[in-house]
Symmetry: C2
Subunit: 289 residues, 2 copies
């Protein structure tokens, strides 16, 4: 499962599944959805992250894709909060390299371009490009792929958009400049969310995510991490979020290597339960490389 190369052999069930994502077709979340579930799936473009989760909750979508962290900007903290708001499970994970292309309508030359539309984060990731071409005006737009769609629909001839190569292909744009991002170490990590937890079977590297809060007392986090460290369970990520209604207390989201059926993971969680005020398992999943 989750193997990109097996898509052509995807079972019928997968061809009928609907994967919700935020943004327009060609958005990075859309690329992540195809990478996670194969090119044979149907995707459902949603205006907001809440819509993505809502569609999974109501069953209108079989799963949803949510960006959770970026190697330059850090975590998408609101999406961590949403993992607790909705009763869904993490059942997949992947990361994709964020590479920005300057895209225009076919026939438009680079020298014609005066305005460049894109999502503010994407514009911000191409600062050096704008410094190099001061004649270009950066114009914030609600979505990267959506800005390509808009250019083509309105047949703009002195404008371009910053978006993915996938967006250029989908809307039949023309790439004027490739890889204009400042920093190539730009990756975004996505979670796949489902209503039911993934059935654990098969070998390979598994990961498990959970969230807990500790009593507000000295060394509480250290003792919580001991549950994992003393069993040689490796944490790959820790994120703290404020605990609502308890000023200066925190929730900790951790990702660890292993799955919920591993004896060591089960014992670590039982140990953590002895001291945590609150604990919730968010799911075990196999990363899609």
């Amino acid at each position: 499962m989750n193997d990109r190369n097996s898509v052509s052999k995807a079972p019928k069930r997968r061809r009928n599944e609907i994967v919700a994502f935020q943004g327009e077709d060609g958005a990075f979340s859309h690329t992540a959805a195809l990478k996670l579930r194969g090119k044979g799936i149907r995707t459902l473009a949603c205006p907001s992250f809440r819509d993505v989760l809502g569609k999974v909750q109501t069953g209108e979508a079989s799963c949803g894709v949510l960006p959770i962290e970026n190697t330059l900007h850090g975590s998408v903290h609101e999406n961590y909060d949403r993992l607790l708001e909705y009763d869904l499970f993490i059942s997949g994970e992947t990361s994709i390299r964020i590479s920005h292309q300057l895209i225009a309508r076919p026939g438009v030359e680079f020298r014609d371009v005066k305005r460049v539309f894109s999502h503010p984060v994407a514009l911000n990731q191409c600062k050096r490009f704008f410094e190099r071409y001061p004649r270009l005006e950066a114009v914030p737009y609600y979505d990267t792929a959506g800005s390509v769609k808009m250019l083509l629909e309105h047949r703009l001839s002195n404008a371009a958009a910053i978006a993915s190569q996938a967006a250029s292909e989908i809307y039949h744009g023309r790439i004027l400049k490739r890889q204009i991002e400042d920093n190539r170490q730009n990756f975004t990590r996505f979670f796949l969310l489902t209503k039911q937890p993934l059935a654990i079977s098969g070998k390979g590297p598994w990961k498990t995510s959970l969230v807990f809060s500790t009593p507000n007392e000295p060394a509480a986090l250290f003792r919580a991490l001991a549950c994992f460290a003393l069993r040689d369970l490796n944490l790959t990520k820790i994120e703290s979020r404020p605990l609502w209604g308890k000023p200066w207390e925190y929730l900790f989201y951790v990702d660890l290597q292993g799955n919920e059926r591993d004896e060591k993971v089960q014992k670590a969680i039982a140990h953590l339960s002895e001291m945590a005020r609150f604990i919730k398992l968010l799911g075990s999943y196999r990363p899609t490389p």
Copy 2:
């Protein structure tokens, strides 16, 4: 020092100091500046957080105030990143309760109000108020206090703003509704930043902030926290941020109780230096209650 009640006895030096903050006069950062340094100081309103830090770096301001976390929204992550970008020290800390008032021009009655201007975060913190009065249109504006200033300058008679009581007083507005925020457990914590570290003297509760990165190996964070836990040094906050250019590696910002001259703190930092790849002390300071 940092005692609000001692303001009237503030030494001459303090009366000449200039404290930079982001926003307009009456913004919550302005209130924090007065709480931290006393009402006799001169303040310098800056359009962005970068401007605040820049003014301190160049010496145009003697110190700057930066919001670092909110009990509902979590950390101001970009400001954590800026603590490393600029070569400044944390030399004070305070938190203030965020309470929102509905403010209009004197003479305007609540029944006249159709549009309500404020910073998007403040509008978002008063959702229930807008649900209760569906006739009101929420209009995003760049600043809470700035929206009061604008109302009064343009003599708007069918609009109001959401801002602090201080903003109402400064611009001579009229409070139509008090404490309209959804959640009273709404506090923002601020750092005071200076070019030189604070001289450590006197008793009382001190805090120290530092940032470090660990090798990317199992239990690295656990061992780092052991430096503090094994010496009974209490951490009050931990925040992770991505390490630029090293995908999926992190910087950890921690706040601990004690100051850099405490023997236990010194030994903990020496111990941490044995294993950390990078470590930077950000300052010791006494919280202003």
